[in-house]
């Protein structure tokens, strides 16, 4: 395990979080605009879009710091346990080629952060444009992390899908978890947010499909039967089964409770929801993490042991968040500009 593999993972995870925050910030901004007739819904969607700014800037700081360190020193990369391992020169070329895009992105972020209009009373339209611009820049940065000059087209497509799918998978799972935790203290927020979960889940499934498609392009040349491969495939199997329970039966049960005013979810259901959420987030983090460590020396049982410990840690983190989260569920002041 080498230090630059950790920095590469850091850069990828930061871009995935920032990209997903922008994707869903744009969607919530548009939903806010399209739901003007329903004032409560419009305000809630706008509040969500605004809240995702935290994730955008957190992801941006992580990825920019990672990029600068990599630019000054150097990297390596990978996914799903099946991957091409790029040459150092290919990664270095991509780092230099994307430097102007990073600068443009930084300028946009600084402008967004310093602009009074953005910080106080940005409208639904404004949020959407800001997020959309960020999303395009992040999509370029996350997809073009290897420059294989004159290489085969299927390798170019593999790297692009391989990088980009993290926005739909890892990033979107973190956004989903973030908005779920943010809504736990308020029933009205839950009534607007939980029905969106099946739609958000569709994007996560499409993201995993993109990665699987990219793997088919390099199969079987990139398959190495290592503990890393077996672990990644095990986690993919677990996250599919867990994800379908989470977005299916569990979400339906929560929606029914909220809509019909049935008795609140029992402790068993809440425990199921927390564990399933922890498994989901840990699984995506694990398969992204492990693919950045080409020379990992842990055995298959050791990797599974670390994975279980990580799930327990995420579960504990959820519990701590719920205990100490004092965020006001509904914004006190929200300016919605009239349609002109």
């Amino acid at each position: 395990m080498q230090w630059f593999e950790l920095i590469s993972f850091m850069r990828q995870a930061g871009l995935a979080i920032a990209g997903a925050a922008c994707l869903w910030g744009t969607v919530f901004g548009i939903m806010s605009y399209r739901n003007k007739a329903n004032m409560t819904g419009s305000i809630i969607y706008q509040w969500l879009a605004r809240r995702l700014m935290w994730l955008l800037y957190t992801g941006a700081i992580i990825s920019v710091v990672g990029f600068v360190i990599l630019l000054l020193l150097f990297p390596a990369s990978a996914h799903e346990g099946i991957t091409l391992v790029p040459e150092i020169a290919e990664i270095t070329r991509a780092l230099y080629a994307t430097a102007p895009v990073y600068i443009a992105w930084l300028l946009l972020l600084v402008w967004g952060f310093s602009s009074l209009r953005f910080r106080t009373h940005l409208t639904y339209k404004g949020w959407s444009w800001f997020y959309l611009l960020n999303f395009f820049l992040i999509a370029v940065l996350i997809s073009f992390y290897v420059d294989i000059e004159g290489g085969p087209l299927q390798h170019v497509i593999f790297y692009a899908f391989h990088g980009f799918h993290s926005i739909f998978t890892l990033g979107t799972v973190i956004v989903l978890d973030f908005i779920f935790l943010s809504s736990k203290s308020s029933q009205i927020l839950q009534q607007h947010i939980i029905p969106l979960f099946p739609k958000i889940s569709k994007i996560i499934w499409i993201g995993l499909a993109l990665d699987s498609l990219s793997v088919l392009l390099i199969f079987p040349e990139a398959v190495i039967l290592s503990p890393r491969f077996f672990f990644a495939q095990t986690v993919v199997g677990i996250l599919i089964m867990n994800g379908i329970l989470l977005s299916g039966v569990l979400t339906r049960r929560m929606i029914r409770t909220l809509n019909k005013g049935e008795e609140p979810l029992s402790g068993r259901w809440l425990l199921f929801a927390d564990i399933a959420g922890s498994i989901s987030i840990t699984s995506w983090m694990s398969i992204t993490f492990i693919d950045f460590f080409d020379g990992i020396t842990f055995s298959y049982p050791q990797l599974l042991g670390i994975y279980v410990v990580a799930i327990a840690m995420v579960y504990t983190g959820h519990a701590v968040w719920e205990k100490f989260d004092t965020t006001s569920p509904i914004p006190h002041v929200m300016v919605i500009e009239p349609r002109t």
Binding site: P198, S201, K202, W205, I206, L208, A209, S212, L216, P220, V223, L225, F230, Q233, T234, V236, G237, I238, L239, I240, M241, N242, G243, I244, L245, G248, V249, R252
Partner: protein, 55 residues
Amino acid sequence: MLSRVFRRKSETIMFLAGACILASVVIIMFHGDFLFWKFAKFFYGIGVLLIIFDR
């Protein structure tokens, strides 16, 4: 029991796809055969298409 958990065909197919991938890990580990793994990926593809077009 199963019909109470999985209300849509897409959910059943996806759950089976996940189970097939887990089973294929054992098969690959001991026999090195990828056929079941490819079958699981195909199942997953069908499941995703069904989910995309679910209401």
